[in-house]
């Protein structure tokens, strides 16, 4: 990939310099009229043979490079981590796969990636077309219902990045984003191990009891509890995420309460019902419990 860039920049620079050089030469000198033979020869060599050969070489080079640049060719991406991301109105379902390509664990709205390692994304859509884009890390790729698109990225610097949905997908399209936490390899492996191990049941509080009593578990899953709903985002360790509601709110107890009380006032068209009818105390208890999941 890196080489493609260098070769194209240098090749383009040479062609640009040649063209500008010829232009300058033509503008400065007062050329003698050419013979018909000479002019034809110039056209055949300079206007036909030269571009045909240069284009042939560039095309061959680009096609030759393709297996390395295109992650879906077999062998190109062996040994890289794979993550399946599904765009849903208006959030991101994230499924980490293990070495054998089998599901390892699920999360939502926040990616954790190791620095200096290439990760392959398998991109899907559940309802309409979305587009997966982490501007700081690379180009975007559409997520199309019924299709698997593939993209591979290699973060080179640890940090937290943001990825917006880049294809209009409904009323809350502009409120559909995710965070990308790029970590040192060791931290990443520790984070992954914590997720893959048999989940520890979170501390039982009245918040947990209310979460089940009010039916949140019908749509949300939380590892280590009986909650296995799949309509909404997985809430395992939701307290550790940078943001809430797919990059829309900062992850504070206040925003959690606001969101649970009336999600549609924050994200129009959202697929989560309002829980404003619950007593304030219940919502606060649920939020406190969810915020403590790390």
């Amino acid at each position: 990939m890196h080489h493609l860039f260098i070769v194209m920049v240098i090749g383009g620079a040479i062609i640009w310099a040649l063209t500008i050089g010829v232009l300058a030469y033509a503008g400065r000198t007062r050329p003698k009229p050419m013979s018909v033979r000479g002019a034809s020869r110039l056209i055949v060599w300079g206007g036909v043979a030269f571009p045909v050969i240069v284009l042939f070489l560039l095309l061959s080079y680009a096609v030759w490079l393709m297996p390395q640049v295109r992650p879906w060719l077999p062998g190109a991406m062996d040994g890289t981590a794979e993550i399946e991301v599904t765009g849903e109105q208006f959030w991101w379902r994230i499924l980490y796969l293990d070495q054998a390509g089998k599901p390892a664990f699920e999360t939502a709205n926040e990616l954790h990636l190791p620095v200096g390692r290439r990760t392959t994304f398998r991109l899907k859509a559940a309802d309409v077309i979305h587009s997966f884009w982490i501007p700081a890390l690379g180009g975007k790729m559409d997520m199309i219902p019924g299709r698997d698109n593939t993209l591979s990225l290699e973060p080179t610097k640890a940090g937290i990045y943001r990825g917006p949905c880049a294809e209009f997908c409904g009323t809350s399209h502009a409120l559909m984003a995710f965070s990308v936490v790029v970590m040192e390899e060791a931290d990443y492996l520790a984070w992954r191990a914590a997720r893959t191990q048999a989940p520890v049941a979170p501390q039982k509080t009245s918040g947990q009891e209310l979460f089940f009593r009010h039916g949140c578990a019908a749509c949300h899953a939380i590892a280590g509890t009986p909650a296995i709903g799949r309509i909404g985002p997985d809430l395992t360790a939701v307290g550790e995420r940078q943001t809430l509601a797919a990059g829309t709110l900062s992850n504070t107890p206040d925003s959690m309460i606001r969101f649970i009380r009336d999600p549609a006032s924050i994200k129009p068209g959202v697929k989560m019902p309002a829980f404003g009818m619950l007593p304030d105390g219940d919502i606060e208890a649920i939020s406190a419990w969810l915020g403590g999941l790390k």
Partner: protein, 125 residues
Amino acid sequence: MKWLREIETFWTLFTAPTVWALHFLICYVAFAVFCAKQGALALSFDTVRLALGGVTVVALGVIVLSAWLAWRQWGFGTDDPPHDAPTDEDRRKFQGFATLLLAGLSFVAVLYVSVPLLFIGACQS
């Protein structure tokens, strides 16, 4: 071969671009079908590649033949363009020259279309 020179048709003009189009279709359709039905066909990737290499050689051959006929129709370059006089001879030469140029274009295009045959060694997984 006198009859050849007497037939008045535009088809000689289109021969080379038609070969180019057919070659393009055959290459792309062959690999689309092969990759979609990998298990069902008892062929290896390289067999299909070689077969398409053969198709490419045949296509280039037909284009060269068409170019030679055009060159002859043009009078082997004895006369320079633009051949725009309202005479039978100029019409014939004009068509010959145009055919020759199209044959050149088609030759290069067929070569370009064949580049992936050299470098791509597997179906998308």
